[in-house]
Amino acid sequence: MRSAYNHFRLGLTPQRILAFLFLIVLGYLVIVPLFLMVRETFIVHPLERFQIPGSRVGEWTTAHWKRNFLSENAYAFFYRPLINTLKIALGFSMLALVIGGTLAWLVVRTDLPLKGLISNAAIIPYIMPSWTLALAWITIFKNERIGGDQGIFTALTGIVTPDWFAYGLFPITVTLALHYFPFGFMLIGGALRNIDAQLEESAELLGASRPTILRRIVIPLVLPAIFSTFLLTFSRGLGTFGTPAFLGGPVREFVLSTSLYANLIGQRPGIGYLAAVAMITLGVLVLYMDYKIIGTRRSFVTISGKGARAGVLGLGRWRWPIASLVLAFIVAVIAVPLIALTVDTVMLRPGIYSWDNFTWHYWIGDASLTVGLGTGEPGILRNPQLMSALANTMKLAVVVALITGIIGILVGYAIVRMRGSWVAQALDQMSFLPYLMPSIALGAIFLAMFAVPRGPIPSLHGTFWLLVIVCTVSYLPYAVKAGISAMRQIGPELEEAAVMLGASWWTRMRCILIPVQKSTYFSGMLLPFISVTRELSLLILLVTPATQLATTITLRYTDRGWYPYTNGMVLLLVVIVVISTVVSRRLMGTSIAKGLGG
C-alpha cells in the first residue's frame, strides 16, 4: 500500500502532471461540447415554444428531428442545403486539387522559369481571407437585378452577367477553389520534393519508361498527399461560411453553414444545431474515409526520404508560354481581385467607374448624411467602430497565437515524452478532434456551452475570452501537431543532459527545449495568428457588439449593401496578414507550409 503510494508520488514527473491536466481541460473543451450540442437538438428553446404546440421551454422534444428530416419543409431546411454543401465541397476540392497539383508538378518537376516567384505568389490566395475573392467576385460580376448596381465587368463590357454566374453555387465553387488551391500546391509539392530520386532511378535501371515510372512509382507515392489534400479542403469547405453567405445570400441559396447561421440566430435554434451535428458527422465520415483508404491518420505529410533531387523534365519550347499562363493565372487570382476591391473603395457612387466619381470619402471622410453610401458613417480610418473592431482582431490574433503556441509546446512535450502510454494517445486524439468540426459548428457548440454558467465556470457569453477559447480549441490540432513534430526532433537526451546538471523543468524549457526549435514554434504560432485575423465562420455566432471583430463587422456592412466599407476592411486585413507573414519569415524563418505540417 505504502509502496504503491510511493510509486505514484515518485512517478509524478512534469510530463505526467501536464498530460493529466490537459486531459481534463481538453475533455471539458472538446468532448463535453459534443454531447451538449446533441442535447440542444432535443430541447425546446424559448423561441420554439410557439412552434411546438403545448411545449414548455427546456423540455425534451423530438420535434426538431422530425421537422428537419421528415416534414414537408425538410427539403428547404435540410436536404437542399446538404446537397448544395456536398456539390460545392466536392466541386471546389477537385478544382483546387487540379490547380494546386498541376502547379506543384510544374514547379517541382519541370524546368519552369521564375519558380521562386511562382511558389511565393501561389501561397498568397490562402493567406487572404477566404471571402476576399467572394467580395471581389461580387464587385466585378454583380448584376443590377439583384445587386442593385452594376459590377465592373458590366460597366466595362456592357454585358449583363446572368444570375447563375454572378451568384450562387457556381461562383462559390470557383472562389473557394481559388482560395484553397495553395493547400494542394504546398502538400503535393512537398510530397513530390521528398521522393527520393533513387526510387525513380532504380525503376529506370530496370527498364521502366517515363510514363510507367510516373504511373507506378511517382503517383502512388504522392497519392496519400493528393488524397489528404482533397479531404483537407473538403472538410474545410463543409464549415466555411463567408463565401456562401456573400455569394449565396442574394439569391437565397443556402448551404449547411449559412442555414445553420440563419436558423440559430433566427427562430429555430434546434434546427440550427441539427445542421451542426450533420456537419460534424460529415467531417467524421471524411476522416474515416481517409483512415480506411490511406491507412494511417494524418498521412498527408508522411512521405520522406533523403537522397538527390529527382531529375526535372524539360518543357522545351513550351517553357515560356506555360510560365506566362501560370503568371497570368496568379495575377488573375491575386492582383485583379485586390485591384477591383481597391477601385470599389474609391468610387463615390457604386457602379460608376469614372474619374469624376473618385473619392477618399470611404477611407478618410467625415460622417455625412448626404455624401455616398453608409449614412452617418465616417470613413474607415476615422471610424471608431471599425478601428476598435480591427484592434479587437489584432488583440485576439496575438493572444490566441501565444496561447495555442504555448499549449502546442506543452501538449507536444507531454505526448512525445509519454509516447506509447494511453494518456499520450488520448491527448493526441483529443487535440485532433476539433479538426473534424466544421468551424461554424464549433462556434455553435461553444455558444451552447458557455451561454449559461456551468458549475464553477461562469457564463462567458459576450466576452473576449470566449473568443479566445474557441479560437484556441479550433487551432489546437495545428498547434499540437507543430509541438509534437518540434519535440520529436529534440532527442530526450538533450533534456536529460540538463537534468543531470540540475536544471529545473522550467529552466530546461526556457534554456533548451524552446530555443532549440524556435522557428518551428513560431511557424506553429503564425498559422493561428493569420487564421484568427481572417476568421469569420468560427466567430460569427459568438461576437456581440462589445467584441465585434474586423471580419464580423464587415458582414453587417455587406448586409446593408455598403460594399466600399466591407471591401476597405478586407483590404486592410490582407495588408496586415501579408506584412506579418513576410516579417515573421524574415525575422524567424517561419513558413506557412511548416505550420501546416507540409
Partner: protein, 368 residues
C-alpha cells in the same frame, strides 16, 4: 567515497517486460566498471537507473553514503544530487549554444560564481584540448571534438562518478583507439569511479578494472576482465568475450577424461564432474594446436580456411562436422585442404555442465 550498491533492483515495463531483473551489484570506489552485454541486455537501463533518469520498479540503490533510490523509503534522489556525471551516446550537445555555453550550463544552473566558473571552464577545456573551440557551435565540430565537449561538460561539475553510455560507438576506428587510451588516462587523473556501458567486448577487456556482464536483464558475471576471460562463469560469458569467439565442443566425462568426439583432455582433479555426464568444453583459439602426426587424444581434422593477419595465422579446421577457429603464432604454415591432427591445450580449463554453468572454480566472485 564508498561503493555504488544496487540491491535487488528490477525495472519492469508494463506487466511483462523485465528490462532488468533482480540485479545486485557492488561497484567498487575508484573502479573502471564496464556494464557489458548484447543490445537489450539491460545495461543502459541499469546506467539510467543509477543516474536517476529512470526509476526502478523495485530495489534499492545507494551511491556512497547517500540513499539514491528506495520505494520503501519513498526516496528518489534527483539526478543532479547524486554527484554523477553522464556522457550520452549521442553526446546530447545543445545545438543552439556554443561550446563554452554548453560546458558552462551546469555551472550557471548550480549558481557557481563567475570567476570560479571561468576558471573551471578554462581548466577543463585545457585538459581536454578544446580550448581553441570554445566560441564554436557544436555543429561545427568533428565527432571526436564533440565527444570531448560532452566529457568536458560533465567533468566541469567535478563529479565523483562518471557514467559513460557507449561513448565511442559514433567514432571511427582510429579515433576510437585514441579515445580508449584517453579515457584510461582520464580515469587515472581524476580518480573518479567510472561506469562504462558498451556492447564491445574488446573495449571492456582493454579498459576496465571490472566487468559486469549482463544478458536478458540478468547479471551473468562480475569480475576483473581477465578473470571473465579465463574463468567465464557460464557458456554465455565464455562465448561473449574473446575475439575470435571461443570454440565450444560437446563432450562426455569418461575415465577421468573429457572426451569430445575423439579429442581428449585430462579432467583436472579439482573439478567435480560426475562420470558419464554431458559437458561442454570451451577452447579459445590459442588453446588449440595443430599437428601433422596423429597421437592418442588428438582428433583428425581438415583445414578449410587460412587467414593470415601478419603477426598470427588463423585457421578454420573441420573436425567431426564442427568448425574450430585456431590461432598459431608460428610453426609450420598450413595450406587449404591439409589434413591435421588437433590437440586441445586449455589453460585454465573451461568446462560447463548441461545447464551452461561453469564447472571450474573461478577465483573471482561468481554470481548465479
Amino acid at each position: 567515497m564508498p561503493a555504488i550498491v544496487l540491491d535487488r533492483v528490477s525495472r519492469i515495463y508494463g506487466k511483462e517486460v523485465r528490462a532488468v531483473s533482480d540485479l545486485t551489484l557492488e561497484i567498487p570506489d575508484g573502479s573502471f566498471t564496464t556494464l557489458l552485454g548484447p543490445s537489450g541486455c539491460g545495461k543502459t537501463t541499469t546506467l539510467r537507473m543509477i543516474a536517476g533518469l529512470d526509476m526502478p520498479t523495485m530495489g534499492t540503490i545507494r551511491i556512497g553514503d547517500k540513499l539514491a533510490f528506495s520505494i520503501e523509503e519513498g526516496q528518489n534522489l534527483a539526478p543532479a544530487k547524486r554527484g554523477l556525471g553522464l556522457v550520452f551516446q549521442s553526446y546530447a550537445l545543445w545545438p543552439h549554444l556554443t561550446v563554452a555555453q554548453n560546458i558552462s550550463f551546469g555551472l550557471e544552473v548550480q549558481k557557481v560564481g563567475k570567476a570560479e566558473a571561468a576558471q573551471r571552464l578554462d581548466q577543463v577545456a585545457t585538459a581536454l584540448q578544446i580550448d581553441g573551440l570554445l566560441g564554436r557551435y557544436t555543429s561545427e565540430l568533428s565527432g571526436g571534438q564533440q565527444q570531448r565537449v560532452a566529457i568536458a561538460r560533465v567533468l566541469v561539475m567535478q563529479p565523483s562518478v562518471l557514467l559513460l553510455d557507449e561513448p565511442l560507438s559514433n567514432l571511427d576506428a582510429t579515433l576510437r583507439m585514441d579515445m580508449r587510451a584517453e579515457l584510461k588516462r582520464l580515469h587515472f587523473e581524476t580518480g573518479a569511479t567510472i561506469i562504462y556501458v558498451t556492447h564491445d567486448q574488446l573495449e571492456a577487456l582493454t579498459m576496465s578494472t571490472h566487468i559486469a556482464l549482463m544478458q536478458g536483464g540478468k547479471l551473468q558475471q562480475f569480475a576483473p576482465p581477465l578473470d571473465v576471460y579465463s574463468h567465464p562463469a557460464n557458456k554465455f560469458a565464455a562465448d561473449f568475450l574473446g575475439n575470435p569467439r571461443i570454440n565450444l565442443l560437446e563432450g562426455k566425462i569418461e575415465n577421468g577424461l573429457i572426451r569430445c568426439d575423439g579429442l581428449d583432455v585430462a579432467l583436472p582433479s579439482d573439478i567435480a564432474a560426475a562420470a558419464n555426464s554431458a559437458v561442454t568444453l570451451g577452447l579459445r583459439a590459442e588453446e588449440i594446436r595443430l599437428h601433422n602426426e596423429p597421437k592418442s587424444g588428438f582428433a583428425p581434422a581438415r583445414v578449410t580456411a587460412v587467414l593470415p593477419t601478419g603477426s598470427d595465422w588463423y585457421y578454420h579446421v573441420q573436425m567431426n562436422g564442427q568448425t574450430l577457429t585456431v590461432r598459431q603464432s608460428g610453426g609450420p604454415q598450413l595450406q587449404l585442404g591439409d589434413e591435421v591432427h588437433v590437440e586441445a591445450t586449455p589453460d585454465p580449463i573451461k568446462l560447463f555442465a548441461a545447464d551452461g554453468q561453469a564447472l571450474a572454480m573461478a577465483p573471482g566472485p561468481v554470481l548465479p
